[in-house]
């Protein structure tokens, strides 16, 4: 009556991503967007007490720059939990940040999204982690569904919609119709793989070692998925492997394109595979409307152009692709009380 429980608990939706964690709160919108990084301080040797020094953006600054006693960790890998305890602690900190404990407040219900390719064990880990972080109830939603809802696709209509969500750890390809997933596939390629490919390319071709943060910076500034008319260049500093001394060198967008070829090909293959598996009626709908790119990977320059050329279909990038998944999960909160097929039962 009067939504009393609604007052006492603010239900939240979480996009627990490999790169970033976003939290959407009912009635407030996106209240948190922080990197999924935790900095842990180890006191007095390996068996000493561990304390959380920082989470989120503050911890990300420490990545690769920590002394021996501090360890900056990314507890998510390939879209799933790599370190259960740290993930739980990180979630707890984030939830505390956006939902400070109040008198009479009951724990929030949480909608949390999982990669469609994650195993039952991985889903259970995410669910347990959220419960351990103080959730009253946890519902899981598959990322392609959340991304499609967040991108504003007509998921409930009897028409096929295709969404490609390129996250930090995984790329999810989904075909959705009538409120359900017709086809979904997940490949463990995403922003992190792009960074890794850039690091490997530079080490192989320049004999230089760069860090993850530098690789990400290169990707954002001159990264490209399709050869363009303009060639951009960037000065990069790294350690020369032969000399062991930090050196500076210049790298061009064409070289980064070459570096990214392998992970990009995996994404293209996943999309083509999805199109092959899509029933012809839905395929016709997709041919007319095209596919929608969401996630941070969609911001890679000319990725839509690459997919357009490879598939011959229209490809559009969603508005605000970084937040599509969490916005979609947030909209799904309204469905928590209803018998809705948008949540997974695993």
């Amino acid at each position: 009556m009067f939504g009393l429980s609604g007052y006492f608990a603010n239900d939240i939706a979480i996009d627990l991503g490999t790169a970033n964690t976003l939290i959407y709160m009912q009635g407030k919108g996106i209240v948190l967007d922080e990197p999924s990084v935790v900095a842990i301080q180890q006191e007095g040797g390996p068996s000493g007490k561990k304390t959380i020094l920082a989470v989120g953006a503050e911890a990300k600054k420490m990545l690769g720059r920590t002394p021996g006693s501090i360890n900056a960790i990314r507890p998510m890998k390939d879209g799933v939990i790599a370190d259960f305890t740290i993930t739980e602690q990180m979630l707890k900190q984030f939830i505390k940040k956006v939902n400070p404990s109040r008198l009479f407040a009951s724990p929030p219900r949480i909608v949390i999204c999982v990669p469609c390719g994650s195993t039952q064990v991985e889903r259970r880990a995410i669910r347990e982690s959220a419960l351990g972080a103080g959730a009253r109830k946890v519902e899981l939603i598959e990322e392609p569904m959340a991304a499609a809802i967040g991108a504003g696709l007509p998921v409930e209509e009897a028409t096929g919609s295709m969404v490609v969500d390129i996250g930090g750890g995984t790329t999810e390809v989904g075909v959705i119709s009538l409120g359900g997933i017709v086809y979904a596939n997940s490949v463990r390629v995403g922003g992190d793989k792009f960074d890794e490919s850039i690091i490997n390319y530079i080490r192989r071709n320049y004999g230089m070692l760069i860090g993850e943060t530098t690789a990400e910076e290169i990707k954002k500034r001159i990264g490209s998925a399709f050869p363009g008319a303009e060639v951009r260049e960037m000065d990069v500093k790294g350690r020369n492997l032969a000399e062991g001394i930090p050196r500076s060198f210049t790298i061009s967008s064409n070289e980064i394109l070459e570096a990214l070829t392998e992970p990009l090909n995996q994404i293209v293959s996943a999309v083509k595979q999805a199109l092959e598996q899509t029933p012809p009626e839905l395929g016709a709908d997709i041919a007319e409307k095209g596919m929608v790119l969401t996630g941070g990977g969609a911001l890679l320059r000319d990725l839509d152009r690459l997919l357009m050329e490879e598939t011959g279909l229209p490809v559009i990038v969603a508005d605000d692709p970084l937040t599509c998944v969490v916005r979609g999960s947030g909209m799904a909160i309204d469905k928590l009380d209803k018998a809705s097929g948008i949540f997974t039962n695993d």
């Binding site: 609604g6 499609a148 504003g152 696709l153 409307k289 229209p314 309204d334 009380d337 948008i342």
Partner: protein
């Protein structure tokens, strides 16, 4: 002529997004087919975009995406076109992205738990707490033996009867107010009290003794004996069984109406100043008086 046209073009308001795209395409000398091939769209979709005919396109999300791609291809300001487009596109259906289920008719827990609903929740909680506090306070204030009031409240109307000795009964009784029984024809009035109601005052007005309505504690039985005093007089009346009908000091002007099982044994301390009326007749006390104390029996 061409100058005039140029002036007209300059002074006209900014073209719609579709017109801007078409003008930019024509300036580059591209055909609709060429653009359609680049964007992997159909010629019809490009034509619809240029004509601002958004109804024939799949939906707002796709229209925005198509315009963004088209503008980028032509090297136009994407953000400017998007802003113009936002004014032209029809409003999106609320919750268009979510399946509408029949169960949604019921009260929704989570939907739009916004400030007004929260406020109502707070008010309801505060009101509930206050109501609880009032109830507890009221319960604490209750007397521990509520039976004092209970019989009075439950006295039925018919239990209260007023009887006059000469059969003139005047009984208009309200259970909740003191009763007034008037018997104008008789010299005295007898009032019968309901059993169990001891504290309720009954006023008997007798013309013989007026003025001076007397509050009397009336015993059981027939009220056929009336004792009145002109000055202080000690009186004791016993019935046949030796029960004390009355024993006490009658004050001047006071009158005692008594009744019980005959015969009565009377002892009157100040006989010369006491008047005894038995069954309507005044009794002569002088014959049984010795040193102002009268002791006698009435049958």
């Amino acid at each position: 002529m061409s100058l005039t046209e140029e002036n007209a073009a300059v002074t006209t308001p900014a073209p719609s997004p579709g017109a801007a795209l078409r003008i930019a395409r024509e300036l580059r000398g591209w055909s609709v087919e060429q653009v359609a091939g680049q964007l992997k769209l159909s010629v019809g979709q490009i034509t619809a975009l240029e004509a601002d005919a958004f109804d024939s396109l799949p939906g707002n999300t796709f229209v925005r995406g198509f315009v963004r791609n088209y503008a980028r291809l032509l090297g136009l300001d994407v953000q400017l076109l998007q802003d113009q487009l936002a004014l032209l596109l029809p409003p999106e259906r609320p919750q268009a992205a979510l399946p509408r289920l029949p169960q949604e008719d019921g009260p929704s827990f989570a939907a739009g738990a916004s400030a007004p609903r929260s406020l109502l929740g707070i008010l309801a909680a505060v009101a509930g707490l206050m109501l609880g506090a009032v109830l507890v306070f009221w319960y604490m204030q209750q007397p521990s033996s509520p039976e004092v009031d209970a019989p009075e409240a439950s006295v039925p109307l018919g239990n209260l009867v007023a009887v006059a000795s000469d059969a003139s009964v005047v009984a208009a009784i309200d259970a909740s107010v003191p009763q007034v029984v008037a018997s104008p024809a008789s010299s005295f009035a007898l009032a019968s009290r309901p059993i169990g109601v001891a504290s309720e005052p009954v006023i008997v007005i007798s013309p013989a003794s007026l003025p001076g309505a007397i509050g009397a504690s009336v015993p059981l039985g027939h009220g056929d004996l009336v004792i009145s005093a002109q000055s202080d007089s000690w009186v004791q009346v016993l019935d046949a069984d030796g029960n004390k009908l009355y024993s006490g000091l009658l004050k001047p002007g006071a009158e005692q109406v008594l009744g019980g099982k005959l015969p009565y044994s009377l002892k009157i301390g100040n006989a010369p100043n006491t008047r005894v009326i038995f069954r309507g007749k005044q009794i002569d006390l002088a014959s049984s008086t010795r040193a102002e104390v009268a002791t006698f029996e009435l049958k």
